[in-house]
């Protein structure tokens, strides 16, 4: 992958006798939002913190825009912005002070525009401990991107946020991506990963259990597609109405619901059957397995091993 800005090759992290990450490899392309998913203890934080230069790799290589995070801390700083999961700011920091403080260490004038952009304009004189959880996270994101780093690490950026704050953060992430910023997003929120990430990797017990676009991952699972059909005359009530690739069928609230392993042949056969019976289709809904379904499938299988 020639335009990769983050390269992880055979990365290994060990704590005493516990192997937290066991030789994982992946690349993240410039301008991509890459989701890192996994249950607690899967190795997400170890991977992120090693890429951020907070921990040293015990094996393999890590590289961000040609810089080794473990050995070239000084060169790494302008390249990355990090929104940590924990606060990371003194309680008595005021919003505008925090912005000036970090900008000063990056050798930049304060980015007051970003305070406005994340909706904290009226809170610029408030101390950090006076902000709500959502406001603290928005401030953390503003500080992380104040120096326009090409790579941003977001660790659970929307955990515990209300709908409006979450939407604002997602908008900001899209803006960053549009400007060419690469985002490595660690999250437990499957809907967020599915919506925001171009590609995701699911970590399980320190290994990559699956990697690809959200569509690819959901398509490769054993999950069944749910097809809900309603007709005017109820022709599907007939016991003879059987369709290919259907594993399970049930009727509920004027709908016939089919769980299919192969949606194409099932839907084609359904429509043909309804037409042949002289009935009229009222409603047809196809619900693909979600990333969450696929995640649960992978993690449940992994846990059973």
């Amino acid at each position: 992958m020639s335009d990769a800005i983050i390269k992880v090759h055979d990365f290994r992290k060990v704590y005493g006798k516990v192997v937290a990450v066991e030789g994982i490899s992946f690349d993240v392309r410039r301008g991509e939002i890459f989701g890192l998913l996994g249950p607690n203890g899967a190795g997400k934080t170890s991977t992120l913190e090693s890429l951020e230069g907070l921990r040293r790799a015990d094996g393999g290589t890590l590289c961000i825009a040609g810089v080794d995070p473990g050995r070239q801390g000084r060169q790494l700083r302008p390249l990355i912005g990090v929104q940590l999961q924990t606060s990371g700011l003194p309680d008595s920091f005021r919003v505008d002070e925090a912005m000036r403080f970090f900008c000063a260490y990056h050798g930049l004038p304060p980015r007051d525009d970003l305070i406005e952009r994340v909706g904290l304009g009226e809170k610029r004189r408030a101390q950090y401990h006076e902000l709500s959880g959502g406001q603290q996270r928005r401030l953390a994101l503003a500080l992380a991107v104040a120096h326009n780093p090409p790579v941003v690490f977001l660790d659970e950026p929307t955990a515990g946020l209300d709908v409006a704050s979450r939407a604002m953060l997602h908008d900001l992430m899209r803006e960053l991506q549009a400007r060419g910023t690469t985002i490595l997003l660690a999250t437990h929120d499957m809907a967020e990963a599915s919506e925001m990430a171009s590609r995701v990797a699911i970590l399980l017990r320190g290994r990559i259990a699956a990697i690809g676009t959200p569509m690819e991952l959901t398509a490769t699972g054993a999950g069944l597609t749910k097809i809900s059909v309603s007709t005017e005359a109820g022709c599907l009530d007939s016991p003879g109405a059987t369709f290919p690739a259907v594993q399970q069928a049930l009727a509920k609230d004027n709908y016939h619901i089919y769980f299919s392993t192969d949606v194409g042949p099932t839907v084609s056969a359904l429509i043909a059957y309804i037409a042949a019976q002289g009935d009229t289709l009222v409603d047809l809904r196809v619900e693909r397995p979600t990333l969450e379904d696929r995640f649960l499938e992978i993690t449940t299988k992994g846990a059973a091993r």
């Binding site: 907070l54 000084r74 700083r77 940590l84 700011l89 000036r100 403080f101 000063a104 260490y105 050798g107």
Partner: protein, 270 residues
């Protein structure tokens, strides 16, 4: 404004804005000054001859040992140092700036004490103001060095209180603040010689208060300076960004080396 200057300004403001630090930097030492001045002045009148240096050292002790270490420990435990590291804040700034701001807070309190003690308690004013300022700087540096070292090696707020009190209480009782160390005999006299405040009071006596009889002021200054440098150097060496990472470069017990100059001071007397 450069980053160091902005960081210094912020840290100084926090020392006033934060209620716990305000208490330890200003309210506690000034309250004790008023209380000790009133009580000790009637119970032990010779105390008034040393009230200015004694309460100045007390102010430094309060901020350096009761205020600063817990701030460092809490910041590390809250992940603030991790955030600083990511944003390029050097470890040196994290340790130097609290030491400097602590010295500045103590200086403000010291100025109040030195200027008011003669009028309020009939206390003795320094005869050599430059000498007083010089001793203050060295003593404040030595004590702030210990404070930063405690903040670096301590793993919790509870341990911080324990370690700080281990230095604070003997320093206050035996270190020449309440009564001259020369009055202590036997084991207590020897214990006093491994306390930084003993050397600070000796240096104040010889270089600022015009009481050079029996004082080894410059030797005491040398010991305080060496101890301050060792404490600060060890704090820098043992500093860790993050309690969850075992990145400390040496065993915390190495911090005891900061007492080496005081032990040498004891041996010189023996």
């Amino acid at each position: 404004m450069n980053a160091f200057a902005y960081h210094f300004g912020f840290e100084f403001r926090v020392g006033i804005r934060n209620k716990a630090l305000m208490l330890m930097n200003y309210l506690f030492p000034l309250g004790c000054y008023l209380m000790f001045g009133a009580l000790m002045g009637s119970v032990n009148p010779p105390f008034l001859q040393t009230i200015a240096p004694a309460m100045s050292v007390f102010a430094v002790l309060s901020g350096a040992l009761l205020g600063m270490p817990d701030t460092l420990v809490s910041a590390r435990e809250a992940g603030i140092f991790r955030s600083y590291k990511i944003n390029g804040v050097p470890a040196l700034s994290i340790l130097v700036i609290p030491v400097l701001t602590n010295m500045l807070h103590a200086l403000v309190v010291t100025v109040i004490i030195v200027l008011t003690a003669p009028a309020v308690f009939d206390g003795v004013a320094p005869v050599n103001w430059i000498g007083f300022f010089l001793v203050f700087l060295v003593a404040a540096f030595a004590l702030a060095g210990i404070g930063s070292l405690i903040g670096v090696v301590s793993t919790s707020s509870r341990m911080t209180v324990l370690l700080s009190q281990l230095v604070f209480l003997p320093s206050m009782i035996l270190g020449g603040l309440m009564l001259p160390s020369s009055m202590l005999t036997g084991v207590l006299g020897k214990v006093a010689l491994i306390l930084p405040t003993t050397y600070a009071m000796d240096a104040f006596a010889g270089l600022a208060m015009g009481n050079s009889a029996g004082s080894h002021a410059w030797q005491s200054m040398g010991i305080l300076l060496a101890a301050g440098l060792m404490a600060f150097g060890l704090a820098l060496f043992l500093f860790s960004w993050d309690s969850r990472n075992s990145t400390r470069r040496g065993h915390p017990a190495l911090a005891l080396l900061a007492w080496l100059p005081y032990v040498i001071g004891l041996l010189l007397v023996l």
